[in-house]
C-alpha cells in the first residue's frame, strides 16, 4: 500500500498537510503542490479530506502466503512469570484471549517459558487456557531477552498461531520486538483495545500514540502471526474456574546459552504497596510542593486502609519520591477502584496511565485543571485544607 498523489489534480490547498498525523506531507516551495516523505504510513487521513481527489491509496498488494493459506491457526498468550510467579497481566490477557479465541473458533494457548515453573500451569488453565506450551530450560531460569526470543520464535515457527499477545511490561516489550523480527511479523505496541474480525481473521489493535493525545487502530493484514503487546490493567481478570484443566505440552528446545548474565536483582518495592495492582491509589503531584508533604499522601493512604502512593512525573522529577511510584505514559498504568489525584494537573501523559480507574477523584485548587475533565468527583480547593479533613472524615 502506498500513497499516490496526482500532481495534475493537486491545487496546493494544503488541506491534507494539516490532517496528516505523521507530518508526512509537505508543500513544494515552487508551486505549493504536495509531496509525501518517509513518515507516511498510508493511514488515509489525507485521502478523505482532499477536495479534488488528488490523493489515493494503492492497495493492490498481494497477501503473503502465510496470511492467505490459512496455515496459521490458534490464539496465544505469553504467560510471563517472574521468580515462578505469574504476572497479573497474564490473567487479563487470558480473559480477553478467551473471548477472542471463541469468536475465531480456535483454542487458547498459553506459552510458559522458564525453569522449574510447572506449578504455574494450573492457574493458566483455570483462567481460560486450553493448552499450555511449556519450555523448561536452564537458559530461561532468569529472564534475558535473547533466549526468551529464541524459544518463543521456535514455538511460533512450529505451531503457527495466528495471533499472539504479551503484556506490555519490561519483559514483554523487551523481547517481543526480537520475536517480531525473527518470525517476520508485525507487532503493535502497548495496545489498549483489541477486537477480532472473524472472516478475514484480523486482529484490530487500538493503542495510544503521541503520548496519548491520539488513538490509532492498527492491522497486520498480510503477516502471521498478528502480534501485540497489551498494556497491563486495561482488561479485567476473568473469574478463575477451579479445577478447569487442559492440555500440557512440553516442548524440548535446544537453546543457546544466555549471553547476558544477571548478577543481581533488587526488588525496590518489597516494603511498599506497589501502585501497579493496588485497589486504592492516592497520587501526589507538583501541588504537594516538597518531599516532606508526601507524608500527607501516606497518611491519606493509611486512612483508606492501605492504599498505594502514586506520583506524577513532576513530583518524581523533583526528587520527592522514587520513580517506581510514577503513574503515566513513562510510569505505570493503573486501574484501581479509587484513584485520588491531589495537586495533579492531569496532563495527557499522566492521564493515559490512570484513566481506566473505576472512580477518579481530583483535588486541585485550579478549577480549570484538565484533571477535572477526567474526574468522577472533582473538588476545587487547597489540598492542604481538604486532605487533612478527608483523613479526619475517613477515620470517623
Amino acid at each position: 500500500m502506498a500513497l499516490n498523489i496526482d500532481l495534475d489534480l493537486c491545487t496546493g490547498c494544503g488541506a491534507c498537510v494539516a490532517v496528516c498525523p505523521f507530518c508526512a506531507l509537505t508543500q513544494r516551495a515552487a508551486d505549493g503542490k504536495v509531496v509525501v516523505n518517509e513518515a507516511c504510513t498510508a493511514c488515509g487521513a489525507c485521502v478523505d479530506v482532499c477536495p479534488v481527489g488528488a490523493l489515493s491509496l494503492e492497495t493492490a498488494e498481494p497477501a503473503t502466503d502465510a496470511a492467505a493459506s490459512g496455515a496459521y491457526r490458534g490464539f496465544w498468550v505469553f504467560a510471563e512469570q517472574r521468580a515462578g510467579r505469574l504476572q497479573e497481566v497474564v490473567f487479563e490477557l487470558l480473559g480477553k484471549g478467551r473471548e477472542l479465541a471463541d469468536q475465531l473458533g480456535v483454542p487458547l494457548g498459553a506459552v510458559l517459558l522458564g525453569h522449574e515453573v510447572q506449578e504455574c500451569g494450573a492457574a493458566l488453565f483455570e483462567h481460560g487456557a486450553d493448552r499450555v506450551y511449556v519450555v523448561d530450560h536452564p537458559a530461561l531460569a532468569t529472564y534475558t531477552a535473547e533466549p526468551y526470543a529464541e524459544a518463543m520464535s521456535a514455538l511460533i515457527h512450529k505451531h503457527k498461531p495466528e495471533m499472539v499477545l504479551a503484556g506490555a511490561t519490561s519483559m514483554g516489550r523487551g523481547f517481543f520486538a526480537r520475536v517480531a523480527i525473527q518470525v517476520h511479523a508485525g507487532l503493535t505496541a502497548d495496545c489498549t483495545e483489541l477486537a477480532v474480525e472473524p472472516t478475514q481473521r484480523q486482529l484490530w489493535q487500538t493503542r495510544p500514540a503521541f503520548g496519548g493525545n491520539i488513538m490509532a487502530t492498527i492491522l497486520c493484514p498480510d503477516h502471521r502471526p498478528q502480534m501485540a503487546t497489551v498494556r497491563p490493567k486495561v482488561f479485567p481478570q476473568p473469574v478463575p474456574q477451579a479445577g478447569r484443566t487442559g492440555e500440557w505440552i512440553e516442548e524440548v528446545l535446544e537453546l543457546k546459552a544466555p549471553v547476558v548474565r544477571v548478577i543481581e536483582t533488587v526488588n525496590a518495592m518489597a516494603n511498599e504497596v506497589n501502585v501497579a495492582g493496588a485497589e486504592f491509589i492516592v497520587t501526589g503531584g507538583r501541588g504537594l510542593g516538597n518531599a516532606e508533604n508526601f507524608k500527607l499522601m501516606a497518611e491519606l493512604a493509611e486512612a483508606l486502609g492501605g492504599a498505594a502512593v502514586g506520583a506524577s512525573r513532576a513530583a518524581v522529577d523533583a526528587g520527592w519520591i522514587s520513580s517506581f511510584h510514577q503513574v503515566g505514559q513513562t510510569g505505570k498504568t493503573v486501574r484501581p477502584k479509587i484513584y485520588i489525584a491531589c495537586g495533579v494537573s492531569g496532563q495527557i501523559q499522566h492521564v493515559v496511565g490512570m484513566n481506566s480507574s473505576d472512580t477518579i477523584i481530583a483535588i486541585n485548587k485550579d478549577p480549570e485543571a484538565p484533571i477535572f475533565a477526567m474526574a468522577d468527583i472533582g473538588i476545587v480547593g487547597d489540598l492542604f485544607e481538604v486532605v487533612p479533613e478527608l483523613i479526619k472524615a475517613l477515620r470517623q
Binding site: M1, R178, N213, M215
Partner: protein, 263 residues
Amino acid sequence: MHIVVCVKQVPNTTQVRIDPETHTLVRDGVESVMNPFDENALEMALQLKEKHPGTQVTALTMGPPQAEAVLKEAVGRGADQVMLLCDQAFAGSDTWATSYALSRAISQMAPPPDLVLFGKQAIDGDTAQVGPGVADWLNLPCITYAYGIEIDGGMATVQRSFEDGYETLEVALPCALTVVKEANVPRMASLRGKMAARKLTIEPTTAAAIGADPDKIGLAASPTRVMKIFSPPPKTGGVMWQGEEPAAMARKLVEALRERQLI
C-alpha cells in the same frame, strides 16, 4: 571504542491533538525536537567518551531531510560523526522495516560499533521496539531500560530497571542498550559544538548506499498498517464541587464513596 547512538526527530507530543470540531490534527506551533530519551542515550555515549579516551560517537537517524537538525544537535553536544538515512524508499517504514534499515546502516560502519544506544522509546510512536529490533538484525544482545553502564576490558556492567526493581547485568561487547531518563541529565550543546554543527553539511545516505534489500524497507515491507486515527473519547458524568468549606466537601466525598460501596 565506537559508539553509535540512534536518534529520532519527533514532534513535541504535549502539543499534538485532534481538533474536536474539524477532526484534523492541530499542527500550529508544534515544534520538532530530538526524542527526549535519545538525549539520554547520547549523553550516556558522551560520558563514556569522556571516560574512555579515543572513543568515537556516531549519531544515526532515519528520516526526512529536515531530520538533519537532530544530527546537528548531536554534533553540538559532542558527537563526532553523523549519518542521515534519507530516501523515498524508506517511506512508511514501521518498526520492523525501520529496524532493518538502521541495522543495515550500522553494519556498514567502520569500525563496527562496540556499543549501539537507543532511547527507551520514541515519544511519537511510543513503541520501544526499534532498539531490540535493530539488535536482533545485528545479532547483538540488547538490554532494555538501562540507566547505568561501566565498561572494562571488553565487558559491560549494566544497570537496568524493571517495574518493581533493578537488575545488574553483565555482557560482552558489542551490545545494544535502550536508555531511560533516569540515566543522566543531558548536556546542552557547547559553543564550540554549535560552531562545528553550523559548518557541517550532511549528505543523505540512500537505501542503495547501505545495500538495503528493497523488499525489506518502506511501507510495502511493513507488516503493520495504521487504519485510522482518532481522539480519545472524553469522559462524561463527573461532578465538581467548589466554594464549600473543605471539611464539608471532605465529608460529602466520604459519604459518596460509602454510598457507592467503594469503602
